[in-house]
C-alpha cells in the first residue's frame, strides 16, 4: 500500500470513528446550553414576579405565568424546573414546555406559581445549530483531508522522482544517477545513503569484473602451457606405461579445468549483464542450426529425433540464445541412451524437450546448481544447466523439469 493511501486511510478511520461521538456531544451540548438559557429566562421572570409581589402585594402580569394556586402555609417553600408536555387545543397536539414552579407569599397567602416557556422554537434552534455545526465540521474535515493530501503529494514529489530514478538504475550501464535535492532533511539523508551505496556497489562490481577477467586470462595461459608440456611428455619415448597413464590423467583434468574456467567466466558475464542486445531472435532458425550441427552425433547414438518446430521469436541476445538451446539439446543428446528418442516442440509460448535417459538420483532443484551432476558416469560438469538457468533468469524465462522412470521432460517457458 502506498504511504499516502495508508496515512489517509488512518485519517479517515479516525474521522469516521470520531464523527458520531462529536455529533452526539454537540447535540447534547447545544441542548444543555438552550436549557440553561430557558432556565435563565424563567428564573429571571420569577425574580421579577417576586419583586413585584413584595413591592406591590399583588401578582403582576406575566406572559410566562400560566398557573397560580394557593398552597398550605405550612408547606416549605420550593422551586423546581420541569420538562412537560401540554396539550394545546389550538394546535391539537402536545407541545413541549419547560416549566418553573416556585412559591411566593402574597400578603399572608402562600402561592405556588408556575411559569412556562415553550420549547418548540428551542427544539428547532437546537436542530438548526446542530445541523450547522455538523456541516461545518464535515467541511472542515474534508477540506483538511484534501489539503493534507495535496501537501503530502507535493512534499513527497522529490522522493518519488528519485525513487523512479533508482528503479531505472542499471549497474551495467555506466550512467551515474543524480538524485534530486529536495530541501527535506530526511530525504537528503536518504539520498546520501543511496548515493554512497551505489558508489560502493559500482566499485565492487568493477572489481569483480576485473577479477573475473583477470582470472580467466591468467588461468587459461598457464593451462595452455601445462597442456602443451603434457603433450610433449606423451610424445616423448622415455616414459613407461604407468607414467604415461599419469600424464594422460593430468592432461584430461587440465582440460576439464579449462572448460570449468570458461563456463564460470560465461556465467559471471551473464550475471554482469555483458550481453545487452535485445534482438527479436528467430528461435526456430537457431534450433534448426543446432540440430544440423548435432545430426551426426544423433545418428551415431541411434536416437530418434522428432521435431515439431513452429515459428517463434523471443527477445534476447542471439549469442545467449544459441548457448541456451545448444546446452539444452546437447544435454538431451548426451544423457540419452543408445536407441532412445528426443522430441522437440516449439511454439510462441514454450520450448519442450522430451528424451529418454538414465533414471536420475538428484532432486530437480539441485540439478540447476553449479557443478551438480545428474550422474557421475559422464564428464559433463553440470555447468551447462547452470548456464541455462542463468540465461533464463536474465530474460525471465522459466525452466521446468520433470522425470519419470527414465523419461525426462524439460520445458522452457518464454513468458513466465
Amino acid at each position: 500500500m502506498k504511504l499516502l493511501t495508508k496515512t489517509h486511510k488512518y485519517y479517515l478511520v479516525f474521522l469516521v470513528a470520531l464523527a458520531p461521538v462529536m455529533i452526539v456531544v454537540d447535540y447534547y451540548l447545544i441542548r444543555y446550553m438552550v436549557n440553561i438559557e430557558v432556565n435563565e429566562i424563567l428564573k429571571h421572570e420569577s425574580e421579577r414576579i417576586k419583586f413585584q409581589l413584595e413591592k406591590e402585594g399583588e401578582l403582576p402580569h406575566s406572559s410566562y405565568m400560566f398557573d397560580s394556586t394557593p398552597v398550605d402555609e405550612t408547606s416549605t417553600p420550593f422551586s423546581q424546573f420541569n420538562d412537560t408536555l401540554i396539550f394545546e387545543t389550538y394546535a391539537d397536539k402536545l407541545i413541549p414546555y419547560r416549566t418553573y414552579e416556585f412559591t411566593a407569599l402574597v400578603g399572608t397567602e402562600r402561592l405556588k406559581i408556575s411559569l412556562r416557556h415553550i420549547l418548540l422554537e428551542m427544539n428547532e434552534l437546537i436542530l438548526g445549530l446542530f445541523a450547522a455545526t455538523t456541516l461545518i465540521l464535515m467541511l472542515l474535515a474534508t477540506g483538511l483531508f484534501f489539503i493534507s493530501q495535496k501537501i503530502s503529494e507535493w512534499a513527497w514529489k522529490p522522493f518519488f522522482r528519485n525513487l523512479s530514478k533508482l528503479k531505472n538504475y542499471d549497474i551495467t550501464q555506466k550512467k551515474q544517477v543524480h538524485l534530486e535535492a529536495s530541501g527535506i532533511s530526511e530525504f537528503e539523508a536518504l539520498n546520501q545513503v543511496a548515493t554512497a551505496l551505489m558508489n560502493q556497489v559500482e566499485r565492487d562490481f568493477q572489481n569483480l569484473k576485473e577479477f573475473n577477467e583477470n582470472i580467466s586470462h591468467e588461468m587459461q595461459t598457464p593451462l595452455a602451457i601445462i597442456r602443451n608440456k603434457m603433450v610433449l611428455l606423451l610424445e616423448s619415448q622415455s616414459l613407461g606405461e604407468k607414467e604415461l597413464q599419469w600424464v594422460q590423467a593430468a592432461y584430461q583434468e587440465a582440460n576439464k579445468l579449462s572448460k570449468i574456467g570458461k563456463a564460470l567466466n560465461l556465467i559471471s558475464r551473464i550475471e554482469n549483464r555483458e550481453f545487452p542486445r535485445l534482438d527479436s531472435v528467430d528461435v526456430r532458425a537457431i534450433i534448426d542450426n543446432i540440430i544440423s550441427k548435432m545430426e551426426e552425433i544423433i545418428k551415431f547414438k541411434d536416437l530418434k529425433m522428432a521435431a515439431k518446430l513452429n515459428a517463434a521469436r523471443v527477445k534476447c541476445d542471439p549469442i545467449l540464445a544459441d548457448i541456451l538451446f545448444t546446452n539444452l539439446i546437447k544435454n538431451a543428446v548426451q544423457h540419452n541412451r543408445e536407441g532412445g528418442y528426443i522430441r522437440l516442440l516449439l511454439n510462441e509460448e514454450k520450448f519442450e524437450l522430451e528424451n529418454t535417459g538414465e533414471v536420475l538420483q538428484k532432486e530437480t532443484a539441485q540439478l540447476f546448481n553449479r557443478f551438480q551432476r545428474g550422474n557421475t558416469a559422464t564428464d559433463s560438469f553440470g555447468l551447462g544447466l547452470a548456464i541455462s538457468q542463468k540465461i533464463c533468469e536474465l530474460y525471465g524465462f522459466r525452466l521446468g523439469y520433470e522425470h519419470h522412470e527414465g523419461k525426462h521432460k524439460l520445458s522452457l517457458f518464454f513468458n513466465s
Partner: protein, 226 residues
Amino acid sequence: MKILVIEDNVELLQDIKNFLEREGNVCEIAPDYKTAYMKVGIFPYDILVVDITLPDGNGLDIIKETKKENIDVGIIIISAKNALGDKVYGLEIGADDYLTKPFYLPELNARINALYRRKVYKGSKEIVFNEIRIKPEKHEVFVNGRPMTLTKKEFDIIHFFVANKNRLLTKEAIAEHLWGDYIEMADSFKFIYTHLANLRKKIAELGGKDYIKSIYRVGYKFTDWE
C-alpha cells in the same frame, strides 16, 4: 613460411615456436608490443600470431598498424578473453582468424596452414602425404590418384591429420577441431573412433597404407615413421 608470434608469456611463446619450427617454418617471437612493432616494420612475414593483451600495449594496435602501412600479412588473433566484442572487432580491423586460449597447438598449426594457403596460393595448393593427396578447397582426397568418397567429418579428420603429420593429436584436440562446443567429450571419443575406423577402411580399399597410429589411448598420430 615465416611467422611472427607475439605473446607476452615466454613459456607459451617457446611452445608455439618449437611446434611451428618442427613443421619446417621460420618462427620469430616478440614478447611485447615494442619488439613486435619493430619487427613487423622491418621484416616481411607471411603470418602474424597476435595476443591481444600485451604488457606494454594492445595487440589490436599492431593489426591496425599493419593495415595502415599496407603490409600484406595473414593475421591470427590469440586471446584468453573470449569476449565476443574483441573477436568481432579484431576481424573487423583486418584479422583473418581468432583463437581462444587455451588452444591446442595442432589447431593453431592447422589454422596457420589454411590461412597461408588461402593467402599465398589462393587456396589452389594441394597437400601431399606419400600416396595421399588433398585438395582442401574442393574437399577432395585422392589415394594413389583415385578419389575417395568421404563424409564431411571424415574429410575434416584426414585434413587435420595430414596438416599435423607426425604429431600426437589428442582426442580432445580432434574433438574440438571437429565439433567445437556442440558435443560432449565422452560422446566424441567413441565417435572419433568410429570415424577413424571408417577412414582406415576407405584408405585401405584404395590401396593406401594405414598411417593412423593409436597412441596410449590418449590420441592418434598420422605418420609413416615406424
